[in-house]
């Protein structure tokens, strides 16, 4: 899977606001050969503000893909478009398609997206603070039948034994790292085929961040695809097979994660290489840079006004 250029990674020339066709005019099924997530020509607006434009992205079945980008680049908006939660923020997909397993999921309600096997761990964890750990896990399984929930619960507690110890504690009283484990565990209760992770290491101590990264690896090894949105580029590139760099709402750069990690531009802008040694983010020691990253796709971008949430 690694290094395979998905069909959705071509330049943004396919779609623009002027060529936007009504979504209902598109076939209900997308490219069936991937079986994973396929985003094509996605444009998202919050009222008059365009947050994403012409975004193409693919997460093949069983793969880990990463989306990098600064604050306001549109990373969270991208996940909202997949998970069907744009409407909570008065946003809407104005053109393009999102498909999972060959079926369109754009315009589908969030709960229905969960039933199709796509579950998001929201940014900032957002555990149900007034409920216990056990109740949070139960809430994660509300969208699936009971017998599947029991099996999922076993898997989650095996992955995060601390959640079993804290089962009857209020989730709001857990530490940041434990809350992140709970948020991931809660999402796994629905038995997802694709897990969307929004900044899972934000605000965590380096040791805990590394632990979360290990967990993501384990979850993927058990067969769940992962779309990881991260500001911690070093961690994301180490985990992912393919990565996308978002800049002001458009994919600026995409390619195999290893090549992106080696690219001077990414090293300078996202990995802190070239910065004084002490200012570098933790875990960015990537070894000597190599220049062989001709597999990267650079995308011509039109200038957009910077969007802020």
């Amino acid at each position: 899977m690694s290094g395979e250029a998905g069909p959705g990674t071509s330049g943004p020339e396919i779609d623009g606001p002027e060529t936007a066709a009504p979504r209902t005019g598109n076939p209900r099924t997308a490219d069936p050969k991937s079986g994973g997530l396929e985003i094509r020509g996605l444009e998202v607006r919050y009222g008059p503000v365009r947050a994403l434009r012409g975004v193409h992205l693919a997460v093949p079945r069983g793969a880990v893909a990463a989306v990098l980008g600064a604050n306001g680049a549109g990373k969270t908006t991208l996940l909202r478009a997949v998970s069907g939660t744009l409407r909570f923020h008065r946003g809407a997909i104005t053109s393009g398609t999102v498909a999972f397993g060959g079926l369109r999921i754009d315009g589908v309600a969030a709960a229905a997206v969960v039933r199709r096997g796509v579950v998001q761990v929201p940014e900032g964890r957002r555990v149900f603070a007034r409920m216990t750990v056990a109740e949070n896990l139960r809430a994660g399984a509300l969208g699936v039948p009971g017998r599947r929930a029991a099996a999922a619960r076993e898997r989650v507690l095996e992955l995060f034994p601390v959640l079993a110890e804290r089962a009857h504690q209020r989730a709001g009283l857990l530490s940041g790292g434990e809350q992140q484990m709970l948020a991931i565990g809660r999402a796994l209760m629905a038995g997802p085929s694709l897990l969307l992770l929004d900044e899972p290491t934000l605000g965590l101590a380096p040791l805990m961040a590394a632990r979360i990264a290990d967990t993501v690896r384990q979850i993927n090894a058990q067969g769940t695809s992962v779309l990881l949105v991260e500001q911690n580029a070093a961690m994301a590139l180490a985990l992912a097979e393919r990565a996308y760099v978002l800049e002001v709402g458009e994919v600026a750069l995409s390619g195999p994660a290893a090549d992106l990690a080696a690219s001077d531009e990414v090293r300078r802008r996202y990995l802190g290489v070239g910065m004084p040694e002490t200012d570098r983010p933790v875990g960015t020691d990537l070894g000597p840079g190599h220049e062989g990253h001709e597999r990267l796709e650079r995308h011509e971008r039109t200038r957009l006004a910077r969007w802020t949430a």
């Binding site: 309600a109 109740e135 699936v144």
Partner: protein, 296 residues
């Protein structure tokens, strides 16, 4: 002392009925963050169906029909009006519910006219004597039923999947949706449950010593509103406490009206609102309400 005890027992039983109504307010507020002013008309609808049907099908069947009808009206209001009202603010939705309430109440009071409708309950005007205290049987039944319903409801809220979905939605609707909770269903069920509780409350508000269901019954229902507010609009425990406080206050103030003549007539009706104002001045979120977290 006997008078005080009698008033207290009566106050608690009326308060338990108010708590049922307040619980409906709270359930809807928790699930949808909408303050539901339609509640009084849901109550009137339930009571009206019981009153009209009991001569035909008997009291118990009429009670079941009334509960079902009020639940259905609640669900319909949610499904046909609120779900389709694409307005941004919850405040506007609250005003929409005032409009719906006016429509429903106007039609129901037109149907009721000047009549006072009996509900055909089996308890009649029998009283129980417990030592020096005399209490209407209806009041004792009201207290028992309200307590049982509230306990059942609290247990369901805590332990069933429906309860977990409701609480998750109340805490963070977007994240609940991300977990696969169908928010539309949660909202619909909240309205239906509120309607059903209102119908039970309607029955107890209109039996002895009240002469029956009339156009003034909605005013009685509105007393549950200060109960819900002073308890904390998002707290089920608060609804229970608020209902009891309002019931006891109202009954005591009315019972000792002659001693409180300097306050004027009808102080019993005004007292719940005075208590609400005092409590809100001291605790702006109500007794058990969640403090609105500051958004930064």
């Amino acid at each position: 002392m006997a008078v005080f005890l009698e008033l207290l027992v009566n106050g608690i039983s009326v308060g338990a009925v108010y708590a049922l109504i307040a619980l409906g307010f709270v359930v809807i507020f928790k699930a949808t963050e909408v303050v539901n002013f339609t509640h009084a008309s849901l109550l009137l609808a339930g009571g009206y169906v019981i009153a009209r049907l009991h001569p035909l099908i008997g009291f118990w069947a009429a009670l079941a029909a009334g509960i079902a009808a009020a639940a259905l009206v609640g669900a319909l209001v949610e499904f046909l009006i609120l779900r389709r009202a694409h307005v941004g603010s919850r405040g506007v939705l609250a005003i929409v519910t005032i409009g719906v309430d006016i429509l429903l109440t106007t039609e129901l009071t037109r149907q009721i006219g000047t009549e006072v409708l009996a509900l055909g309950d089996p308890w009649g005007d029998r009283v129980l004597r417990l030592g020096p205290v005399t209490v209407a049987e209806t009041r004792v039944v009201a207290l028992a039923v309200a307590a049982a319903l509230i306990v059942a409801f609290l247990l369901a809220f805590k332990f069933t999947g429906w309860g977990v979905a409701m609480r998750a939605t109340a805490e963070d609707a977007e994240t609940a949706a991300l977990m696969g909770v169908r928010l539309g269903r949660v909202s619909l069920s909240a309205w239906a449950v509120a309607g059903a509780l209102a119908a039970v409350a309607a029955m107890f508000l209109c039996v002895f010593p009240t002469p029956g269901l009339d156009r003034g019954t909605t005013a009685a229902a509105m007393k549950a509103f200060p109960a819900a507010i002073l308890g904390g609009l998002d707290s089920t425990t608060g609804a229970l406490a608020g209902g009891l406080i309002v019931g006891v206050t109202e009954t005591l103030m009315s019972g000792y009206q002659s001693e409180l003549a300097f306050l004027g007539r009808g102080i019993g009706d005004a007292a719940p609102f005075l208590v609400m104002i005092v409590i809100l001045l001291l605790r702006p979120s109500g007794l058990f309400g969640t403090k609105e977290p500051a958004r930064v």
